[in-house]
Amino acid sequence: MTPSTTPMLEVRDLALRFGSVTAFEDLTFDVGRGELFAVIGPNGAGKTSLFNVLSRAYVPTAGSVRFDGADLLRLRVSALAGAGVARTFQNLGLFGELTVLENVLIGRHHLMRSGTLRSGLWLGYARREERRHRAAAMEALEFAGIGRHAHVPTGTLPFGIQKRVEIARALAMEPKLMLLDEPVAGMSVAEREEITALVRRLHHERDLTLLLVEHDMGMVMRIAQRVLVLDFGRIIAIGTPAEVQRDERVIRAYLGEELEPALAEAPR
């Protein structure tokens, strides 16, 4: 098998349990190269937990994950960025006191080499490197449409803009696989549209595989190529948006959520 035909992500029998609580189990799926793949499900279905395993924040109880042909679970958290995985965070993982540009530059940390001495002494190497990466970071900011906020401390910006800073930062990491954790959660209708368009542009214009976790069915059905539906930590359907929308179990899971919101709010 040549590398170009191996899937970008191969998940096999993956399970995560906290004591007696099961976040998810028996997850097996592939994400193809260049695919825009979405994971959906009611609250508490295990979506964010899956993301936290894929970004090595949690250690799974069982199963395997191969990324670009290599064992993802053997990588240290901080080696992930270098391997080509970037992610955004549902509740923002930005550094509030740093400016927007500095936040995006942190995304390029793994692409830069200047250490304490070279930076502290401001040697030519560090200067050139900084200039080059600032330009790349600005380019990512412009792509996300927030170039004018570059020098503003991130913590002072509205939530919607901060979500875009996250996407710009993930883009600046130059990943092969980008994990987007509920990019439109908590946003107005207009903001949702803008972010949806941004994600679609990312997929069309950049050489990226996108894995999207989202609660907003409308967004997912419009842009995803394939959708995986989780309910109570298990896969109940996988296929194209059209296939998934017709699935009996999916309809029941989402209908159930509307009828019994209390149940759907169960702790994740």
């Binding site: 964010t48 936290n52 970004s55 924040a57 509740n91 993982g93």
Partner: protein
Amino acid sequence: MTAFLQLLFQGVALGCIYALVALGFTVVYRASKVINFAQGSLLLVGAYLVSFLATDLNLPFVAAVVGAIALLATGGAVFQMTVLRRMLGQPVFVLVMITIGLSIVIDSSIPAIFGGNARILGDPWGASAVHVGGVTLNWVRIWTVVCTGLILALYFAFDRFSRYGLAMRATAADEEAALAVGVPVRRVYALTWAIAGGVAAVGGLFLAGFPSSVNPSLGDVALRAFPAIILGGLDSPPGAVVGGITIGIVEVMSSGYAPGWLGNDFSSVAPYVVMILVLLSRPYGLFGTRPVERV
């Protein structure tokens, strides 16, 4: 064996004082996440207040103790209400700095007012003791253990069964949620400082008992109590008690048994050595809760 029992008794008595100091720390820390660097200074004030009331004003000793507890508890609450209350919502380290400022003020006011020389406490025990099978039990140490036990029982009963105990625990768990459901959070903060002041008065008075005296360096004991709160976990009052007594025993035992190559006065650093060893295996102490970092 007799020597061991003797040291054990002394260790437990010293540990009780540490437990009181540590309790003062954790009560304030649990509610407001502030390490009160003035706790040692409160102890110092407690010892001087008892001494002043008992010897200068010639009050009966029990009255002097009760008076000192009441005054110091009031003082703690007043400081919280007049100074710290304005700082609600400010970063914790700023509050910590204010407690450092307070400790500087107290530590230099005491010698300015009372002079730098040692004073007598005015206690009825002095060096008197009972002897049980070769072990000397000083009355002041016996009373230390008894009173500490009493105070801890009172505190835990208060924490468990009273309305304000519940309010303290609610504030500790989640300040915003506590505010939202109508817990008088501001009063809880004042209360924690009152408790810190009250237990400091008791701790200070026993600290100044035989063979020590009332002197300006008594407050240093607070720095030695840090291993106790770390051992127990910063936010755990029961942990403070276990940690305090453990550290007291470690300190006294090492003064009796540490080999000479460890240097003079090794007992004063032994608690810190134990603390570091414990932390390397349990980073949040024996009873502390690990803060959950949300992703």
